[in-house]
Point group: C2
Chain length 356, copies 2
C-alpha cells in the first residue's frame, strides 16, 4: 500500500479518478441550473483531464505519508484541492497572459471563443466574453478547492483548520507573485526573479502541498519549518530549470518553443545574470533582440549564444545545483523514515534535472 | 447586547472595525513581500471602506442571534467573510461589465488604470493590466473570505464545516448566475430573469448569509429549509425592486441614472412582462429604443411610459408584494422568538419597499 501510494503513476491515477468524481457531481448540479452552466464546468474539466503530472498532489501524498499519515482518502482529497487551485490559477494566468491554449488544447477562454464566435460580432467582444467565462471558471475552481479542503475526511478538525490556513497562505503568496511578475514587465523597480519565483512558484506548487500534507499527518512545528525551507529551495530550483529549458530545452522533448521567453523579454534569473556579467556591447546586442516581436531564428541563436558565452547559463546551473544541495541537506535533517527521505531526495533530483 | 447587535448601524460599525483589522494585517504582510503588493490590498480596501450598508453581515448576525447564537465574535467573523466575498464578486463583476467605478469612487480596475497609465503606452494595455490586477484582487478576497470562515472562533467544528459548505454553495450559484446573466445578452435561449435572480442575487446575498448565521447557531435542518425558501423570496423581491428603481427610481435618492438599464437593454422581469403584455406596435416602438447607445431623454421616457402603460410595472410591483407576503408567512413558521420574527419581517419590508 505504502509503495503504491508513493508511486507517481498511482497517485496520478487515483487523483484523476477522484477529480473525475468531483467534476461529475458539479457538472450534474450545474446542468440542473442550466446546461449552459454545465458547459462551463465541462470546459474546465477538459483542462483538468488534459493536464498535468499531478506533481502537487504527489507532494501532498509524499509529505502526508512521510509524517505517518495512513488514510489514503485524506491525502487524496487534499491533493485534489491543490490540483484544482493550480488549474484555477492557470485559467486566470492565461487571461492575464492573453493565451488561448494550454496543455496542447484550447483553454477555457479558447473554448468559449469558439462557442461565442457565431453569436457575437467583433473579435474583441468574443474575446471579452470568453475571458469573462474563464474568469468565472477560475473563481469556481478556487472555491471548489476550498470546499474540498473543508471536507477532508478522517482528520482531527484542528489539523484540517491548520492545513486550510497553509492553503490560504499559498494563495496569498501566489497572487502577490502573479501581480509582481506581471508588473515586472513595466515596473520602475521590479522584484528580482528569485523573489518572484519564491512567491509565485515555491509558495503554492511546493510549500502549500508539502505543508498541507505534513500538517494533516500531524507533523510538529519544527518539521513544518524545515519543509518550508525545503519547498523554498525546491521551488526556486524548479523555476530556474524552467528558465533554462525555456531557452536551451529540446523542443521535441519539452513541447515548447525556445523562442518564446526571449521574444517576450522574460526577465528570468538567467537574464539578470546575463546583464550582470556581459560586456557593454554584448548587452547592447542582446537588447536589440530581447523582447522583440517576430524574432528570427538567427536572432534567437544570437541571444542564446550571448547568455551562454558570458557564463549566465552556467551560473544558473550552478544555482540549481546549490539549491538542490541545500534541499538534500534539509531533507536529511527531517525526523522521518529513511525510505521517505529517499522519496523527497528523488523529488529534488527530478526537479533539478528534468528535461521537460 | 441583543438590541445593539441587531441594530443595523451597530453591525455596520462592528463589521467595519473587524474588516479594518483584517486589512491592516494583510496589508502589512503584503508590504513585506513588496510595497507594490501592499498597494493591491490598499486598493481593495478603499472599495471595502467606501461601500456598503453591510446588509449581508447584518443577515448573518440576525440569523445567528435568532437561532440562539450568543457569541458576537462568531457572527462578526462570518459576516466579515460574506462581505469580503461580496466585494470580490463586485470586483470581478466590474471586469465583466467593463465598469471602472463603484460606490462613487474608482474601483480596483479604475485605480490601477490611473497608476499604470504613465508607465504603459496604449489605453488597451493600461486597461488589460489594470483588469489583471483587479482579477488578482478578487481572487485574494475570495480566498481571504474562506480563510475567515475557516477561522470562525468559538463554534463546534462540525457547525463551522457545514457553514463553509453553505458558503461554497452560494459561490457555486452566484458564479453560475453571473455566467448566465452575462450570456443572456446574446444567448439563443436565455434563462428567465427570475431564474437568474434566484442564482445571482438570492443565493449569495440572502441564502448564504442566513444559512451561515443559522448553522453557526446550530439551527435544525427543517429551519434551514425554511430559511432557504425565505431567502429565495426575499432575494428575488430585492432584485425586482432593483429593476423598478433602475427605471422608475428617484435619481436624487438612488444616486443612479434611470437611463442605464434601458440603454443597456437589460432583460429584467419587468421587461419580460412588457413583452408578454404589450401590443405588437408598442413592442416595435420599444425595440427601437431598448439597448440603444446614446439614448435620448425623450426615448427613455417613451420606453418607461410603454412599460408603465401596459401594466408591466404594476405586475412587477404585485410580484414583489407576493414574494414579500410569502416571506412573511414563512418567517411566521420559524421556531424563533417573536422579537426575531419582527427583525426578519423588517428586513423583508425594507427590502420590498426600499427607495434606494
Amino acid at each position: 500500500m505504502k509503495d503504491t501510494l508513493l508511486d507517481a503513476a498511482s497517485v496520478k491515477a487515483e487523483t484523476d479518478r477522484f477529480l473525475a468524481g468531483i467534476f461529475e457531481e458539479r457538472i450534474d448540479q450545474a446542468d440542473r441550473v442550466s446546461v449552459r452552466y454545465g458547459d462551463l464546468w465541462r470546459s474546465a474539466r477538459r483542462l483538468v483531464d488534459q493536464g498535468g503530472k499531478r506533481l502537487r498532489p504527489y507532494l501532498v501524498h509524499a509529505a502526508y505519508r512521510a509524517f505517518g499519515g495512513d488514510d489514503p482518502d485524506t491525502a487524496l482529497q487534499a491533493g485534489g484541492a491543490v490540483e484544482l487551485l493550480h488549474v484555477a490559477l492557470l485559467i486566470h494566468d492565461d487571461i492575464i497572459d492573453r493565451d488561448t491554449r494550454r496543455y496542447g488544447i484550447k483553454n477555457v477562454t479558447g473554448q468559449y471563443m469558439e462557442a461565442y464566435a457565431p453569436r457575437l460580432g467583433s473579435p474583441d467582444e468574443v474575446r471579452h466574453y470568453a475571458n469573462s467565462a474563464a474568469l468565472m471558471a477560475g473563481d469556481l475552481l478556487i472555491s471548489e478547492a476550498y470546499r474540498l479542503m473543508n471536507g477532508i475526511p478522517d482528520v482531527p478538525p484542528a489539523r484540517r483548520q491548520k492545513a486550510i490556513d497553509f492553503f490560504a497562505e499559498s494563495v496569498f503568496l501566489v497572487c502577490g507573485g502573479e501581480l509582481l511578475d506581471t508588473e515586472s514587465a513595466f515596473a520602475a523597480e521590479p522584484l528580482s526573479a528569485l523573489q518572484i519565483a519564491e512567491c509565485k512558484t515555491a509558495s503554492y506548487s511546493f510549500a502549500g502541498p508539502l505543508l498541507i500534507g505534513a500538517t494533516l499527518a500531524g507533523a510538529a512545528a519544527d518539521q513544518l519549518e524545515k519543509l518550508q525551507e525545503i519547498a523554498s529551495n525546491l521551488g526556486i530550483a524548479y523555476q530556474l530549470r524552467d528558465d533554462v529549458l525555456g531557452i536551451f530545452g529540446d523542443t521535441a522533448v519539452t513541447g515548447k518553443t525556445t523562442v518564446g521567453d526571449i521574444r517576450e523579454g522574460k526577465r528570468t534569473f538567467m537574464v539578470e545574470e546575463f546583464y550582470a556579467r556581459a560586456a557593454a556591447r554584448d548587452r547592447q546586442a542582446f537588447d536589440r533582440v530581447f523582447g522583440v516581436q517576430g524574432l528570427s531564428a538567427g536572432q534567437y541563436h544570437q541571444a542564446a549564444g550571448l547568455i551562454e558565452s558570458c557564463g549566465a547559463r552556467a551560473a544558473c546551473e550552478e544555482r540549481i545545483q546549490q539549491l538542490g544541495q541545500r534541499a538534500h541537506e534539509l531533507i536529511d535533517k527531517l525526523a522521518i523514515d529513511g525510505a521517505y527521505k529517499q522519496v523527497f531526495d528523488d523529488i529534488v533530483r527530478r526537479t533539478a534535472t528534468r528535461v521537460k
